[in-house]
């Protein structure tokens, strides 16, 4: 009866150099095929950065008093600001739809003894939270409640 072969029986005495192919971007990167949505998702980062600073400017003006508040309200009527906010609204909805679709799929199979709820439940809960938070805040800001 033959014995089992030694696992290193065929190993060379000196290890060979590991050769790797140079890294290359896929042919469709960055704006074709499935990479389009991926790249646009990244590019919304610039919109979010600008949005944060515009919100900072508006809130800072609120703290500066009524005249500063009225001045910033007037500036927001500028067509450039309106175009930016229109683009921002499209970006924010795109980010929400994409992220809330990915989020349930990214859950671990188990967290200790617990299993996450079914993906559909997470998806519906995220949309319910989005509609609830955004709708509630919009109602408050627009004077519908409070």
């Amino acid at each position: 009866m033959a014995r089992a072969a030694h696992p290193d029986a065929m190993k060379p005495k000196t290890p060979g150099r590991t050769r790797t192919a140079p890294p290359m971007a896929p042919g469709e990167f960055p704006f074709a095929g499935r990479y389009r949505a991926y790249t646009l998702f990244d590019w919304t980062g610039i919109i979010y950065l600008l949005l944060g600073f515009v919100a900072l400017r508006v809130v800072w003006a609120l703290g500066d008093g009524e005249s500063a508040w009225l001045a910033v309200q007037g500036q927001l009527e500028n067509p450039l600001y309106l175009a930016f906010h229109l683009l921002s609204l499209v970006s924010v909805i795109f980010v929400g739809v994409r992220f809330f679709r990915l989020f349930p799929k990214a859950q671990p199979a188990r967290i200790g003894p617990l299993k996450p709820p079914p993906q559909l439940v997470i998806h519906v809960a995220l949309y319910a939270a989005w509609i609830g938070v955004a709708g509630g805040l919009a109602l408050v800001l627009a004077g519908g409640i409070f």
Binding site: W43, Y48, L56, W69, Q73, L89, L137, G143
Partner: protein, 119 residues
């Protein structure tokens, strides 16, 4: 610097994730009302009158919401802008780009907190 960024990765990812989730939820309403509705005259003129806006913003909940609305999108923005830079072939400059972007997010967050504290 790279070592520090790796150590801070969980914190950065937490703020980035909150920026996508909470930032998106809050920003949808903010853009619709403050960015578009009010300037285009689609909402009642007195809804964002100074007295009402200040009264809403200076409550505890108002301050927390406004601080989140300012700071969290900055972290989403900084992290994704960093990844644009990496994806466009600047991985070797990440040691410079990433700290710069996160410093912008930190500065904006601190100013955001200051803005709501002074209301």
């Amino acid at each position: 610097m790279k070592h520090l960024l790796l150590r801070l990765e969980p914190v950065i990812w937490l703020l980035f994730g909150l920026g996508i989730m909470v930032g998106t939820m809050l920003m949808t309403a903010w853009i619709a009302v403050v960015g578009l509705g009010a300037p285009m005259g689609l909402i009642p003129a007195d809804a964002l009158a100074f007295e009402r806006a200040h009264a809403l913003g200076s409550t505890l909940i108002g301050r927390v919401v406004l601080a989140a609305l300012i700071a969290l999108p900055l972290w989403k923005g900084a992290h994704h802008t960093r990844h644009i830079s990496i994806d466009m072939g600047n991985a070797d400059r990440d040691g410079l780009v990433a700290p710069l972007l996160y410093l912008i997010a930190i500065a904006g967050s601190v100013l955001g907190i200051a803005a709501v504290v002074r209301l």
